[in-house]
């Protein structure tokens, strides 16, 4: 035993402080500031929302949700998300495959363009579809002019009263636009990090393209994909601004859940608005829970991949 070890005495526990830690008072103050800030902006409003939803009791709550207009709004929201999420999912996988597994010119430009919908205001996102498909827009003018290239189509569309703006197709399109990047931007960095050696090995060993994708790529990206889908779905069901522009807000027909909430709120039916809002808030909480779980799963998968 060396003399140093025998003379060494641990500092008194009270005096002991890690050299890179703050004094307990500062620590408590910072935790306090953070919690007060989050309470004022996040927790209190969330609790308030549920309290308001049940302010007139359970009877009123379920009555509001059973209302035909509410029911139609719920169905329309599920329809729009049901179309937008799978389409953006297919797009996300395709884009990630092309960008992560191959080299080509203009990749960075493509990446920026994919992110573009995130930086466009929801109201502008709705507006661009009105300009393309509305009565005053590209397609409206085209249909009125009865384009010579397809003489029958314009008549057929007019006869069947096929509308995009102020109708369901416009709502679906606007939803696709605002949720466009979610899956792609989740998968691209993930697949870039994983590289292409595993897929190449599978191909060299005789797997077909599809087999490679289903047996090698998909298991590797499943948690990232699920993560993207969860976020995409939350945004799809909750989109308000873009959908408000293209929907025309016809009750029972083109009102999604967020638009129905606005209608109820504008009617001063606050409890009703909060009742419908509570469903979407519940969806948000479930989304956050799933997100945390998937993040955990993803981390575990990555650790396993790194250890060997």
């Amino acid at each position: 035993m060396t003399p140093v070890a025998t003379t060494f005495r641990a500092p008194h526990p009270v005096a002991h402080r890690h050299p890179v830690a703050e004094p307990p008072l500062v620590r408590r103050a910072l935790i306090g500031i953070a919690l007060v800030f989050l309470t004022l902006f996040l927790f209190l409003p969330l609790v308030f929302l549920f309290v308001q939803a049940f302010a007139k009791g359970f009877g009123f709550y379920f009555e509001t949700l059973r209302d035909p207009n509410a029911w139609s709004a719920i169905k329309l929201t599920l329809t729009a998300a049901g179309i937008a999420v799978p389409l953006n999912c297919v797009f996300g996988v395709c884009a990630a495959w092309a960008i992560a597994k191959f080299d080509f010119y203009g990749k960075n430009v493509l990446l920026t363009l994919i992110d573009l919908p995130f930086s466009v205001s929801p109201v502008v996102a709705g507006l661009i579809y009105v300009l393309v498909f509305g009565a005053q827009g590209w397609m409206g003018l085209w249909l009125n002019a009865d384009h010579p290239a397809l003489p029958g189509l314009a008549n057929w569309l007019n006869e069947h009263d096929f509308k995009i703006i102020f109708a369901v197709p416009g709502i679906v399109l606007a939803t696709i636009f605002v949720t466009f990047p979610f899956v792609a931007r989740e998968l691209i960095p993930l697949m870039q990090a994983q590289g292409r050696s595993e897929e190449e090995a599978a191909r060299v060993l005789g797997a077909s393209g599809w087999q490679t994708f289903w047996r090698v790529t998909l298991p590797n990206i499943k948690w990232g994909l699920l993560y993207g889908v969860i976020l995409c779905n939350a945004r799809a069901m909750g989109e308000f601004g873009a959908v408000a522009v293209v929907s025309g807000r016809i009750r029972g027909q083109t009102n999604t859940m967020p638009l129905h909430i606005e209608s109820l709120y504008d009617d001063y039916n606050f409890t009703g608005a909060f009742a419908v809002a509570s469903l979407l808030a519940l969806l948000a909480i479930v989304t956050l829970g799933l997100k945390t779980w998937v993040e955990h799963k993803n981390a575990v998968q990555h650790e396993r991949a790194i250890i060997p």
Binding site: L40, L46, L110, S121, V132, G137, T212, G241, V245
Partner: protein, 283 residues
């Protein structure tokens, strides 16, 4: 030459390049690029003086000032409190930390209309928080303060989530070295930690600012719709649309689009800087 050929052959080992890139470009064009081009096409139906007159009319000028001002201050407040929240979540242990961490993303997950009616009601004169502010003479609903609060709400996760990973990866040795050389805790924070967090803080600020500029759903309920006073640009565009004045709405949309494209560019540069900074200083 031989090397190039081997490289080219290696790429071809995996199938589906043409199919996936083709579909990606087709879908991108159909959903994003062609509709965006429509905005610029519609604007071209206005003459230059008409366009200029529309985007500089007094209601528009007031809405730019309000939108930029409120977004700027909301992002600034989020930088300060977001840093505190990220710090507390990374460095300290406290009861309920995991739940708090998950709930930070609430503004991302909560639909904007739901956030909008909730904030408007909580901060109204009869709401839980608004009621406490009335004796102080502070009015939130239908004021610019309300817009600021809504934009602070939606911007919060951006700062926390950009700063958090950088803070987690900070090498404690740098702080230990600074304090063993005699720096006190505050000096270590301002001279060692803060400079390393600056790129992330700026990126978070830019992301929150960009998001706030275009925000509509969470603002409309708390802002009221008072011309020249509480009309942000998105609300103004919506009002023109409700009156079927498409050229006016489009001209304003072009202004918004150009601003967001410039910001997108700035954010890309910032993120590149953040990554480079981390690679050289933290690796």
């Amino acid at each position: 030459m031989a090397n190039d050929r081997i490289k080219a052959r290696k790429i071809r080992v995996l199938p589906g390049f043409k199919l996936t890139l083709g579909f990606t470009l087709f879908y991108l064009g159909l959903i994003v690029l062609i509709p965006l081009a429509a905005v610029f096409w519609k604007t071209s139906t206005l003459t230059w003086p008409q366009f200029w007159h529309t985007i500089t009319m007094p209601t528009a000028m007031a809405s730019y000032r309000l939108t930029f001002g409120a977004s700027f201050f909301a992002a600034l407040v989020n930088v300060i409190f977001g840093l505190v929240v990220a710090w507390v979540l990374v460095r300290y242990e406290f009861f309920g930390k995991k739940i708090v961490d998950a709930l930070v993303d609430l503004p991302f997950a909560l639909p904007t209309a739901v956030a909008g009616i909730t904030l408007a009601s909580v901060y109204s004169e009869h709401g839980w928080i608004g009621r406490l502010l009335v004796p102080l003479g502070i009015k939130v609903a239908n004021t610019q303060l309300g817009i600021f609060i809504a934009l602070t709400f939606i911007g919060l996760p951006f700062i926390v989530r950009t700063v958090q990973p950088i803070l987690e990866d900070l090498d404690p040795e740098l702080e230990e070295a600074a304090s063993s050389l005699g720096a006190n805790r505050w000096q270590v924070f301002t001279r060692v930690i803060l400079p390393m967090l600056t790129p992330a803080l700026l990126t978070g600020f830019a992301l929150a600012f960009a998001r706030a500029l275009g925000e509509y759903g969470s603002v409309i309920f708390i802002a009221g719709n008072i011309p020249m006073k509480t009309q942000i640009v998105a609300i103004l565009i919506m009002q023109e649309l409700d009156m079927f004045d498409y050229p006016k709405a489009t001209a304003l949309a072009v202004v918004m689009l150009v601003v967001s494209f410039v910001l997108l560019l700035a954010i890309n540069v910032l993120q590149w800087w953040t990554n480079r900074y981390n690679n050289t200083h933290l690796a």
